[in-house]
């Protein structure tokens, strides 16, 4: 019955639906704004790309002792690295199993140890641990891959 109805609708031209073209062009534009090619050998450039990709304000990668490996901050983020690692070390000493530290201030201040590094991120909204982990993993993989860093 349904197939007869559908055939009749087509034959008699009763299908008044049409493709919403203006909506489609708007949808297409969304993707063009979110195409990020992070294929670079420059660590600082990579962090800048990741900043846009994950919609965060600042990324600082530090070693566990507080020295800066790379940062998107002007002045190389030394302050971020020192405060971030000190804070993380203190929290780790109190809560040894802690994996991520999120602090809500005017903005979100997020800390995560990953392998032998500490990732310090500032953002207007908090990142999920899954996304934070993906960000750290991408940086770590690039560091391991590109000896030029």
């Amino acid at each position: 019955m349904n197939s007869i109805k559908s055939l009749a609708t087509k034959l008699l031209g009763l299908d008044k639906t049409e493709i919403p073209k203006t909506q489609l062009s708007a949808i297409s534009e969304i993707l063009s704004k979110h195409n990020f090619n992070t294929n670079t050998t420059d660590l600082k450039k990579l962090l800048k790309l990741l900043k846009k990709k994950h919609l965060v304000d600042q990324i600082c990668v530090a070693s566990r002792n507080g020295s800066v490996i790379a940062s998107t901050a002007n002045g190389n983020g030394l302050k971020d690295a020192i405060i971030g690692t000190a804070m993380l070390n203190y929290i780790k000493s109190e809560i040894p199993k802690s994996e991520t530290v999120l602090i809500k201030s005017d903005e979100w201040y997020m800390l995560m140890p990953y392998k032998n590094k500490v990732f310090i991120v500032r953002a207007p909204a908090s990142l999920s641990t899954v996304e934070f982990n993906a960000l750290a993993k991408e940086v770590e993989n690039k560091i391991l891959k590109g000896k030029s860093f």
Binding site: T17, I19, I27, S28, H54, S128, V130
Partner: protein, 299 residues
């Protein structure tokens, strides 16, 4: 080592769960070891569709660290293994879905295909499912809200380092206003794995005393033919080959039986193995090619 696929959509109600269940069974019918995971820890619909919602140990217990994943793997219908999610709201509020990646990695060796039925949306639980997968298959309907949502899911998947590999367009009615497969491919910059037609038989799967995936009670349904094609694309094993195997099994069984009585076996009839009827087959020739090379993406 198996491959983990997350079936995700952004929008709810596009048929992810139905496709996951039927596709999983279609893969198992091709001789593959398949694990289905109800990764929708808030709305455990796959557990309902597979009739396993009252399993004693669920993914909730595993994510809470109270049970091992091995204890939560059950024999599901149609030859698949299955990890159900819990229906309890209390345990859902306590689980940490970010542990999913490590858990899935721990069973990758045991299966050829692991299919994760991801929740709708782009929030944390979805991210966990996407992050736990090697490949993401996006499920959408041929309408603009569904495509807009699936596009966001694609962006989130890429942010998490997951790899979107293709699209399944579900509920295809071939109406004039439906967005064309070519346009969907261009917009999402991905190949189409299958066009699944709207099919009343799929809806009816939920209207039975014993709920089960359509592939098990109506294997010749139009939508199932399309899902079988997707399984064929993923495995390289066609439905015809399965039938051939079934046929040769029946023939060899009859041979053995008749050799006892030293009589010549009769050829097995088509009816014995559930041949498809022409009337119910969906014209898959109209589908666009799925090869990535075949897509011309407008940059």
């Amino acid at each position: 080592m198996g491959t983990v696929y997350a079936l995700a959509s952004g929008k709810g109600g596009v048929g992810k769960t139905t496709i996951t269940a039927n596709l999983g069974i279609a893969l198992a019918q091709r001789g593959k070891k398949v694990l289905l995971v109800d990764a929708d820890i808030a709305m455990a619909n796959l557990s309902l569709l597979l009739g396993m919602h009252s399993s004693p140990i669920t993914l909730h217990d595993v994510l809470l660290g109270e049970s091992s994943l091995q204890d939560a793997i059950y024999d599901g219908p149609g030859g698949v293994s299955f990890v159900p999610s819990g229906l309890s709201f209390e345990s859902y509020r306590r689980v940490d879905s970010s542990r999913l990646t490590g858990l899935i990695d721990s069973v990758k060796e045991e299966f050829d295909y692991i299919l994760l039925d991801a929740p709708a949306g782009i929030e944390t639980n979805v991210m966990s499912a996407l992050s736990a997968s090697d490949n993401v298959i996006l499920v959408t309907m041929p309408i603009s809200p569904s495509i807009a949502d699936v596009l966001k899911t694609k962006i989130v998947a890429e942010r998490l380092g997951a790899k979107p590999i293709g699209i399944i367009v579900n509920f295809v009615r071939k109406e004039k206003g439906e967005i064309l497969p070519e346009d969907i491919m261009k917009m999402l910059e991905l190949p189409i794995y299958g066009l699944v037609p709207y099919d009343e038989e799929i809806r009816k799967a939920f209207m039975r005393e014993k709920i089960m995936p359509t592939i098990l009670f109506k294997p010749n349904a139009k939508a199932i033919a399309s899902i079988n094609e997707i399984a064929e694309k993923l495995t390289g094993v066609s439905s015809a080959e399965i039938k051939k195997k079934k046929k040769s099994f029946i023939t060899s069984f009859l041979n053995k039986l008749f050799s006892i009585f030293k009589r010549k076996p009769k050829q097995s009839s088509k009816d014995d193995i559930g041949e498809e009827t022409e009337e119910e087959s969906f014209d898959q020739n109209e589908l666009p090619e799925i090869s990535e090379d075949s897509i011309e993406i407008e940059k």
